[in-house]
Amino acid sequence: MSPVPPGAPPDRGGALPTWRLLDLGRCPPERAQSFAEAVAPSVADGSVPNTLLLARPSAPYISLGYHQSYAEELEPGFLARRPLPVLRRVEGGGTTYLDPDQIFYQLVYRDEATAAGGAADLARVLGAVARAARQLGLEASVRPPCDLVVGDRKFSGNAGGDWEGAHLIVGGWLLRADRETMADLLRLPDPALRPLLLREMGRWITSWEEETGGCPAPEHIAPALVEGFERAGLFRALPGETTEAEEARFRDEVAPRIETPEWRELPPLPKPPGPSVRRVRVAGPHGLWIVDGGSDGGRWAAVVEGNRIQEAFRWPEGDPGALLLVEPGRAEWEELRAATARLPAFE
């Protein structure tokens, strides 16, 4: 049986469970990104209630998904020009650019906090977050498994994981979207691909400002999120404080770990046999495949939805800085389809 968290109200039948609300406000990237990792052990051992954290980073940084490769994901030239902090998170998903024009919500909770568990929790959580966004004037809806969108365009990415005995769900809202920086920081095998990536980001990524002409005031966001979770029947969040144990864990364990090269720069994963493929997710099912078939194969770029090729390009001989459109049905198109037949789809 799990211990009763301090401050938890007595069981009142159908009453919502009470969570702790930690509003970290505007804070350094390391704290905004990773303080939840220091909270997780305390939530897991029951010394604090399940917790909703809110934060805004005070400076730009890059976040890698737990399994992402530093070397494969990030453009060295960008990092030389803009040496932003690179923080690997313990949750899933891809490489993201974060800056002060974004707001984060992070849920840290024990097994018994929800009926579903794991990724199934994402759907309930995202439903509540979408409700909060609508209350603030944005026509938001959930695109499973992890996005919040306006129409087809994403303004919120989300991911989850299990860490130190607790579950974590993290997400954020794009109040403004710096797509140029998002496109610049991702490693691409040819500069000709960057305009294509930027075009796709323009098609599939949006922000509060673009959709509504403004951004909600920070002081209105926290109450809307809290109400969203409550009205979705998940929990009631009451303001609380960090504990000494959490602060010490963040200072002595989490912050030093995330700054080590061993944690940040995990080596690239081994490659399966066959064509070399760089997969760049733009948003949800939309992304790019860059396929290099080696000395005997061709080299292509494809705009992809799920695992369906929408557009295909090849490099003209002698002009590596350009791309040529390949018409559907041509032999090159079929070659590309064959080379990518077993690639996993973007979800």
Partner: protein, 129 residues
């Protein structure tokens, strides 16, 4: 939770997410169950445990990512990892396509020589979504 009898030959459940099979040398092969596979969907990444490392009960040892959820999972019982299925790091599809065969995850020697099914720490339930 009792993960059931010690496996000899066929794969036996080791909690809701993992199966295990005793090998002739006394080690145990561990993989993801078909049920877990169906629940989590296609696996995007597999981060194997460290060969030669001794993992305590409940200590996160390996990771599996699907649908942007990363499960950091413990071994089915305390013990030492003796081998991992390295090709899965680059191509995790066999975890989904052939979870009882080519999709095995790692081999371990449990601390308790009676095997993972004899009263060691139970696997954490619902660790894989």
């Amino acid at each position: 939770m009792d993960p059931g009898p010690v496996a000899t030959g066929p794969a036996c459940p080791a909690g809701p997410d993992l199966w295990m099979r005793e090998e002739p040398d006394g080690s145990f092969t561990v993989g993801l169950t078909r049920e877990a596979r169906g629940r989590i969907g296609p696996v995007a990444f597999y981060g194997p445990p460290t060969v030669g490392h001794r993992y305590a009960a409940g200590e996160p040892a390996f990771s599996i990512e699907s649908g942007k959820w990363v499960g950091h999972l413990p071994l089915p019982a305390p013990g030492t990892v003796v081998a991992t299925n390295e090709p899965l790091r680059g191509d995790p599809r066999p975890i989904h396509d052939d979870p009882l065969g080519e999709g095995w995850l790692f081999r371990m020697r449990p601390e308790d020589p009676a095997g993972p099914g004899r009263g060691n720490a139970p696997p954490r339930p619902a660790a894989v979504p």
